[in-house]
């Protein structure tokens, strides 16, 4: 943490692939430990175990988010979404106290984003069929000459936008967590001459970032899921106008 203050100007933490793997193992061990505590309290009546009830609260929160954003059929996607939430949250918690963390490395975040978008495409294919899913990219049904001219252009733009979703998801997480580390090092260097680690005063803000970033990643995954599975609900043909769900009205670029 105090590496930046040792005279040389720029020195960020470099751990390489092996170090990243070690930190991933740390995060997963933490996750499995807490989940094994929670699993002990499972029963068919009332959860009295501390960890079980905490994870139940988390489950209800994620389920509420899915149902709010995706709709009534959103309950099906809760396992994947809650897995993303837990991995990102515990990665961020490790980032609070350790100089490095999986979510502060661009490769791990890109892997998470690729998994998320691949899952979204898979669910879209399952909901609409392969042909239906890819024709969804081509925009509204046009007739005659317009279908030949406009639809391929829209299709290309939509494919690029799907690919850019990976970049935006991973860069957002990486920028927030890695940027937090950089800011802490810069502020530590500021107070180095009087031996005050100013960077640690950023801890409350980073604590906020931990939850918000985990939530934003899963929320965006939910929004992408709601966009590709919108056909699946009861209104079959006019899903883009007057949708009953709040988040579908939000314009979603990239």
């Amino acid at each position: 943490m105090f590496a930046a203050a040792e005279g040389e100007a720029e020195r960020t933490v470099e751990v390489g692939f092996l170090g990243t793997a070690v930190y991933i193992v740390v995060v997963l061990a933490l996750l499995f430990l807490l989940l094994s505590f929670a699993k002990k309290g499972l029963n068919t009546r009332v959860f009295k175990n501390y960890w079980t009830s905490r994870f139940e609260q988390l489950y209800l929160f994620i389920e509420g988010m899915c149902v709010n954003v995706i709709g009534a059929h959103g309950r099906r996607y809760v396992p994947m979404i809650i897995t993303f939430w837990l991995v990102i949250f515990f990665g961020n918690v490790v980032a609070l106290f350790a100089p490095f963390s999986p979510t502060a490395s661009l490769s791990f975040n890109l892997g998470l984003a690729l998994t998320s978008i691949a899952y979204v495409q898979w669910e879209g294919m399952k909901a609409n069929g392969i042909i239906g899913h890819f024709s969804h990219f081509a925009g509204p049904k046009l007739g005659g000459l317009m279908a030949l001219v406009i639809s391929p252009v829209i299709f290309c733009i939509e494919v690029v936008s799907e690919l850019m979703k990976n970049v935006s998801l991973s860069l957002r997480l990486y920028g927030n967590i890695h940027g937090g580390h950089e800011a802490v090092e810069k502020m530590n260097a500021l107070g180095h001459s009087i031996y005050v680690p100013f960077g640690e005063f950023l801890l409350p803000i980073k604590l906020l970032t931990v939850v918000v970033q985990a939530m934003i990643f899963t929320l965006l995954t939910c929004v992408y899921l709601s966009l590709v599975t919108a056909h699946h609900s009861e209104d079959d043909h006019h899903h883009e106008t007057d949708s009953p769900h709040g988040a579908e009205g939000v314009a979603v670029p990239a």
Partner: protein, 66 residues
């Protein structure tokens, strides 16, 4: 010059985030029963504004070292 540009980017991002927060707060104060829906939309909007600034940092900040 790069530092000024980065500062300007931060200024724009701050104004954008402030506008989103302003709108969301006002909406929440007028309609407390819509808070859940407003929070979801607000977080999504915040994420997109923040992403623009992060992209600026990744494009602009490596130039600061030289």
């Amino acid at each position: 010059m790069n530092v000024i540009g980065l500062g300007l980017a931060a200024l724009g991002c701050g104004i954008g985030l402030g506008l989103i927060g302003y709108g969301a707060m006002q909406g929440m104060a007028r309609q407390p029963e819509a808070i859940n829906r407003l929070q979801v939309a607000m977080l999504i909007a915040l994420a997109f504004v923040e992403l623009v600034f992060l992209l600026t940092v990744f494009v602009g900040a490596p130039g600061l070292k030289g």
